[in-house]
Amino acid sequence: MDLNFKKFSLWYKILRVMKLTAFILLVFTMHISASGLSQNVTLAVKNTPVQKVLKQISRQTGVSIIYSESYFDDSDRVTFDVNNMPVKDVLDLCLEANDYSYEVENGMVIIRRVMKVPQPRQQDNLIKGKVTDSDGKPLPGATITIVGTTRGVITDTDGTYSIEAEPRDKLVFSFVGMESQIIDVGNQKTINVRMKEKADELEEVTVVAFGKQKKESVISAIQTVNTKELRVPSSNLTTAFSGRIAGMISYQTSGEPGRDDADFFIRGVTSFGTGKVNPLILIDNVEVSSSDLAKMHPDDIASFSILKDATATALYGARGANGVVLVTTKEGREGKVQVSLRIENSFSAPTKKIEMADPITYMELANEAVSTRDPLAPTPYSKNKIDNTSRGTNPYVYPAIDWMDMLIRDVAMNQRVNLNISGGGTLARYYVAGSFSQDNGILNVDKRNNFNNNIDYKKYLLRSNININLTKSTEMVVRLHGAFDDNKGPLNGGNDMYKKILQVSPVRFPAYYEPDETFKNAGHILFGGYGGSESSSQYMNPYAEMLKGYKQASTSTMMAQLELKQDFSHWIEGLTARLLGSTTRYSAFDMSMRYSPFYYEVMQYDRLKDDYWLTELNSSGTGRGTEYLDYYPGSKTVNSSFYGEASIAYNRTFAERHALSGMLVGIARNYLTANASTLSASLPQRNLGLSGRFTYAYDGRYLSEFNFGYNGSEKFDKGHRWGFFPSFGLGWNITNEDFWAGRLKEVISLLKLRGTYGLVGNDEIGNTRFFYLSNVDPTGGGSFLTGFDFGGLNLSGYKINNYPNPEIGWEIAYKSNLGIELGLFQGKVEIQTDIFKERRTNILQSRADIPISMGLWSTPLVNVGKAEGKGIDISIDYNHTITTDLWLIGRANFTYARSVYKYYEEPDYASLNAPWRSKIGTPISQRDGYVAERLFIDVYDVENSPRQDFGEYGAGDIKFKDMNGDEVINELDRVPLGHPTVPEINYGFGFSAGYKSVDISVFFQGSARSSFWIDAKAMSPFIQGTSDGLVLENGLAKFIADDHWTELSQNPHALWPRLSNRLISNNNQTSSWFLRDNSFLRLKSVELGYSIPEKKVNKIRLTSCRFYLSGTNLLLFSKFKLWDVEMGGNGLNYPLQRVINIGVNLSF
C-alpha cells in the first residue's frame, strides 16, 4: 500500500510537469498561428467544452486565440450549429453565456475576463435564512455554499445567514457531524434549514436484530419509540412504558422507590406454566434483566425498539419468543464538545391512600366480630375501654392511634441529576454520561431515634461509549457501563412497612409511652405492647418496627464491551464484519442493624391523678429487649455473564434495482451464579446459536426477507438441544409504484403492506434446570429420630425433585403478522397497524394423569401445552410544524392482545360433568373461582342450600352457586371469572405543542379488559397472624366498617360478609364476590416547558436552556375508588405515587 502510494505520487508529479510543458507549447503555437479575422466558420457543437470549440475555431480559421487556461473549466460548454458564420459572431456565441470579452489585436483574438460591477438587480437574489439543529436550536458556524462555485458563507452565532444566489442555484448546507443538505433555491427568498445529525439515523433507519435496516425496507413488526417519550420524572424507566408503546402491555403495582418496576409484556402473555414470559431485553446487543433496563437513564438511549413478530425476533431464536426490547445507547459524534445537563427535583405523594375506620368503630366492630360468631366467647374490648377512649381520657392508657397519619408523610422529595458529554474528531468519538438520583420514601422520620429509617434509594450510573477508527475501514467501540445503587430503608422494605401499618389495632396500645416514675431514666423508647399470647410473641407495634432498625443494600452492575467493526468494501463491496465481546458482573449484598425493642404495658392507672404505672413485657427470655444494635448479615448475590457475537454481513444494490443483503451471526452466552442452592443450579447456563438474515428488494417496491435462528441450549437432552427457527416475510411498498403519483402521492405519501410468518423458540420454560436428568437431594427428604433419650440416630431421607424426561425440548412460537404502514399528507400523519396471531406449542406442564396413588415426589413434566394469542396494535403519529414558531405533535397508540389456552393438561372434565372447569379456550391469565350469589340470609337459608365445603360458614357468609347440581360446593363448581388479570387492552394518547419558547405536552393512558380481586384474606379485619414472632392484627378498612352484613341489618348484598375475628375460609375463596374491574384511564403525565430564547442563552454561553414542570399520575378515572386501581389486588402495598417535578436542561 505504502509503496503504491509512492508510485502514485511520482506519476502525479510527472504528469504535472508534462501538463505545464504542454501549456507553454500551446501558447507559443497559438501566438504563431494568428492572422486576420475575416474568416468564416462552419461548426456544429453540442455541449462541448469552450476550450475545445475555441481550438476548432482556431484550426478552421487559422486565427490565434489567446486566453488563460484557467478561465474555462470543463463545465463551460456550448451548443450551436453555425454555417459559414463570421468568426466574430461565432466567438460571440461561444462567450456570450460567460462573462468574457475579447479584442482582436494583430489578428490575434485575446480573451479577457470581465470584472463585473455589482448590480442592483442582484440584491433581489439575496437569500436569507436560519440553520438549526434537529431540536430547533440555532447552529452557528454552518457553511452554505452554492453548488458548482466556491462561493459560500458561514452562519452567525444565531444561526442566520444571507447569500446571493440565482433561482437556478443549488445551496449546500453543511455542518460537522450533520448530514449535508442540498436545496434548490427556486423562488424562495428565505430558506430555513433544520439539519439532521449524521448518527441520528432514526428517521431513515430502524434498529433491527443484530443491525440496522432502512426504514422503508423493514417488513417486520417493529415499534420504535422516541426516547423523549420515555423521559418521565421517575428514576425507573419501566414506569414510562405504560400506554406509550404500541404492542406492549404494562402496569405498575407498587410505588416503593427501588421496587417500583412495572410489569411489561410484549403482545401479552401467550405462555403459561413456570417459564419465562417476559420479553428478552437487550442493551447494546447484550441480554440484561428488566431491573437493568429500569435503571437506565432515558437521556442515554439512542434508540428504543420493540421487536414483535417472528421476522424481527427469529434471529434471537432461543430467547425471542416473548418479544424483544432492543435498546442502543448513544455514541459520540464528530464535532466539538457538547455537554448536556439535566437537573430535576420532584415531589411525590400517594395517588390514593386507603381509608381506615376510626378507633371507636374499630372496637365496636371487633366486639361484634367475636360475638356474632360465638355469643359465648369473650369480647376483646370492654365498654369501659370504649367509653374512655371516646372521651379521650388518657391517650397512653386509652390509645387511639391513626398509625397511617403517624408513620406516613404526605410528600417525599426526590432528586435526579444527569450529565452527558459527547464529541470527537474523525479518529475517535466519545459519549460519557453520568447520572445520580435519590428517591426518598414517604415514611416519617422520627427524631427520637438516632438513625433515619425512611427509604433512601440512591442510584449512580456511569456510561462511556468510545468509538475509535483504527484504520479507514476498521472501527473499534468500547462501551463501559456501571450501575450502582444504595438502598437504605426499613428492615423488610417499604411494602412490608406499609402493610404493617395496616396490620395493627388502633387501640390495643399506643406507639410509645411517656416514661412513668419507674422508667423515667430508661435509655430507650418505651414502645407500646400487649402481653400474653399463645406463642410467647409480642404484638407488632409498627412504630417499633420502623424504629428498631434499618437495612442497607447495595448492588452494582459492571458491563464492559468491546466491539470491532470491519468494512471489507475495498475487497468486496458491501461486505462488513463485526465482532463483539461483552461481560457483565453483578453483585449485591444487604445487611441490617436492629435492636430488639422494649415493650411496655400499663399495669395500673390512677384515674384521679391521671397517672399510670408501666410494666415491662420483655425484660427476659428470647424476645428480650436490647438497647444496643445487633448486626445481621444478609444475602450476598454474585453472578457473572459473558456474551460473544461474531457476524458477517453483505449489503449491496445491483443495477440500482436489486437490493440484496445477507448476514450470519454466531453467538455464545454463558451465565454463572455464585448463589446456587444446588449443584445443578450452580452449573453454567449456556446458549449457542447461529442466525442469519437474507433480504432481497426489487426497486424499493417488492421486499422479501428470510431469517433463521439455529440455537442450542444446555437445558435439554442432546436429542432436543438444538432448535431451528426460520421465518420469512414479504412487503410491498405501493407508494413506490409508478402509478402512485401526483395528487394521490401528496395525500398518501406512504403505503406499505407487509406480512411475516415464522417460528421463535424459548428455552426458559420452567424452573427445573435439566429436564432430562433426575434431580435428587440426598438429604432433602423427611427426617426421623430414634434412640432412648431422643439423641440417637437422626437421618434424613432422599428427596426427588425431578423425574427425568429426555423428550422435553424447546417451547415454540409460530407467529404471523400483517402490517400496514400509512403516511398521510407528506408524512404529517403516520399510522402503523399490525394484526398478529401466535400459536405457542410445547409449553411445559405437569402431567395431569398421574394419580396421587403413584406416590411420586414431583409431578413429571411434559411439554404439551398449547396457547394462542391474537391481537392488534396501532400507533398514530401526527407531526405538524404549522409555522416556524408553532408546532404540534399528536400521538396515540392502542394494543389489544388476547391469549387463550389451546391445549392444557387437565383432568377429563367432560366426564366429571364439569366442562366449565376446562381451561381450553379461556384466556391465559383469567382466574377461576366460585360464582357468589349473595350472602346467606339466615340459618334456614344455610340448611336449605347445598353444602359448602370450605369449613365454617353460616348466615351472612357468601353463598356460592352449585354449578353441577350435586348439592356440594367444591372444586368442580369453579368457573372462569371476569377478565384476565393481565390487561388485554393498553392504550395511550396525548399531544405536545410548542409556541416559540413554550411547550406543553399532555398524555393520557388507559387499560381495559382486566380484573382483579380484593384480597379478602389480607383485608379481613381483626384477623391475627404471626410473622417473625410478632402478632399481626388486621386493621379495619373504612369501606368494610361502612358496609358489612350484621345481624341487625341482614343485607344479603352487603359489600363485606359477616365479620369474624378469625379467617372464614368460605369467604376467602376466590369468588365473584370480590371480583372487580381493573380498567382505568389516567392522566399519566403533563409537562410544561419553557426554553430561554437563544439570544439570551447564547450570551451566557449556553446553546440551550429549558425549564420544565411536569407531573405524573395526576388524575385517575375508574369505577373502583378504594385505592389506586392499577395496583389491583395489592391495595395494601406501598401506594403508587403522584409526582410533581421541576427540572432544567442545559446544554453548552
Binding site: L679, L683, D949
Partner: protein, 651 residues
Amino acid sequence: MRLKNFGRCILLISFLLTLSCCDYLDIVPDNIATVDHAFNNRTEAERYLYGCFSFLPAFANPSSNPALLGGDEVWYIELSDRRLWPIALGEQGTNDPFANYWSSMQSGANLRGGKALFTALSDCNIFLENIHKPYDLDDFERNRWIGEVKFLKAFYHFWLFRMYGPIPLISENLPTSATAGEVQRYREPVDEVVGYIVSLLDEAAAALPLAIEDVMREMGRPTQVTALALKAQVLTYAASPLFNGNADYADYADSRGIRLFPQAYSVEKWEKAAVALKAAIDTAIVAKHRLYDFRTSSTYASVLNEKTILAMQVRGAATERWNPEIIWGDSNTDVAFLQRSCTPFFTENQGGGSAGYKTWAPPLHVVEQFYTKNGLPIEEDKEWEGIDPMGLRTATSNERWYIKQGFQTINLHFDREARFYGSIFFDGGTFYGNSRVSNDNTTNKDYMWVTELKLGTVGGMIGSLDRYSSTSYICKKPIHYLTSVPDNGSSYSSYRYAFPIIRLADLYLMYAEALNECGGETPGSEVYEYIDMVRARTGLPGVVESWSDYAIDAKKSKPLTKDGMREIIRRERLNELAFEGIRFWDLRRWKLAEEYMNKPIRGLNIWGRTAEEYYQITELFQLKFEKKDYFWPVKVSTLMNNQNTLQSPGW
C-alpha cells in the same frame, strides 16, 4: 473471485457449526446425585430407610394426629393455629381436607397436617426393590431392614384403611412411563386390604428382632412385638362393627361393580383377632413388656402416699419414657407442645410468655365418664344415687391428696377413681409434678400443687384470650411429672417422652373385647382376667366384684352378659386410654360416633368468680356427626385425575 468468497462464507458457517457440535453445551458433570446412590452402601441405604420412617404421623402433634383434637375428647379455643380441631367443629370438607393423608409429595404443599403416605409407600417399594444392592450390608441387618420397611408399608396402609376404609394397595411401584389407564388404581375391598396388611405384618414379624438391642440409638424402631400388635389391631378393626357387616355401605361399589364393604357379619373375624391378640400379648410378655407400675418405676414412690401413686399409675403408663408397657412409642415427635397445652398456671407470675397454655380442655362428658372410686359409672353406682353431681361439697383432710383441703367444689369431683385424678385438672384439684415430686407426707404434708380455675384466681381465665380452657377443665395425663415451669414462667422445661402408639393395656382391653365378641352370651373368665388386670393397676376391684358390690340393682348382673360386658370393656377403654388418641378411632370402629358425637360440648362457666357462678353447666358447641364422617373425604382434585377412585362414602 466471487466463488472464492462464497467458499469463505461456507468456511465460516462450518466453523460456527463445529463450535456448536463441540461440548460447549455439555456442562453437566458425571456423578451428580441420583436415586441409585441411595443403595450404593449401607450408610446411604440407612438414610433411605429413615426416609421411609419419616412419613409416620407425628402422633403427639395435634396438627398431625387428628385423634387428639379432632373428636369429642378434648376441646380447644379459637387460636390462629387451630390444629386439627376444625374436624371436631364439623369443618371437614372435600376441597381441602384436614389431615390429608391421601396424598403424595407431588400433589403439593397443603396436606393440612397429613403426610404424603402414597409417597411413603412408593419409597418403601423402591427400598425393597433395591436393598439387595449395598455391598457392605450384611444379611442379618438387611433382613431386619426389610422387615422394618414391610412393617412401615403395613402401617401406612393401615393408617389409610382406618381413615378411608377401602384403599388402593400399593404392593409395588409402576413405572412413571406407564399409561394413564395402568396407573389409575381402584380402591380394593376391605377384606382384601386387611388380608394384604396382615400378610405384610406376618413377613415383617418373621424378620424383626424381639426387642431393640441398641436402645440408645434405635429405640423407636419396630420389633416383632410391634408387628404382631399392629396385626392384632388391624384384625380387631376388621372385626369391628364399622367394617364387619356394616349395611350402611352396602351400595358402595366401584365402576368394576365390586362392593367394597363385606356385608355378611362374620364372627370368625373376631376369632382371628383374638388369636392374633393372644399371640401379640404372649410375645410381648416374652419380650419383657408388662403393665407399668409407678411403684417400681419411680424412685419417688417410696415417699409418696398411696393415692398419689394410684393417680400416677395411668399417667405414668402413658408418659414414662419407654416404660415396659410401651409396645410402640413415637421417638420422633416432641411432646413439648402437647404438655404445654395441658399445663396450667401454678403461680401468679406464670402469665407471661413461657408458661403453660392450659388450652387442652376435656368436656364435661369426659369428666363424667370416669368411674367412681368403686370402678363403676356414676349413673350405675348405688352410692351415687340421689347425689347431685353439681352440688357443692367441701373437701376434708382425707380427700386432700386429690382436692385441696377445705376447698368447696362440686360432688362430681369427689369419690372418683384414681385415673380421674391422674387425668384431669379441675378447680381445687391437686397436681403431682412440676418440681414438686417428693411429697414426703411426714415433713411437708401438702407439698402438692393445687389448681384453682375460677375467674380471678391464678389458674383462671385472666383476660388473655389465647390462654384459657374453654370447659374449665384441663387434661393432666399428658404431663410428665418431671416437666416443669419455674415460678416466674421464664422457661418451659419439657421432659420428653415417647408418646405411646400401642401400649400393653390397649392390647389387653382389645383382647378382652375380642374374646367377649367371639364367645357365647356369657363371657368367659379370660375376658374378666384381662380387663381386671388393667383395673387392678389403678386400685379398682374386678369387674364382677365392682358391679355386684356397688352397682344399683338393675345393673348388678351387667358383667355377666355379652352385651353388658361389651359396654363395660368399651367404657374401660375410654377411661384407661383417655387423651392418647384412642377414643377418636374407637368410637368410629364401634359405629358409636353418631351416638356420642351428636351431643353438645359442655363445660363450666369460665366467667364465674364465685362457686355459684362458676359451677354452672355451659353449652359450648353442638357436635354434629353424620354417616359420612366415619371416613375421611378424599380431596376433590385428587379424584379428578383418577376417576377409578371413588370418593369416600357420603362425601
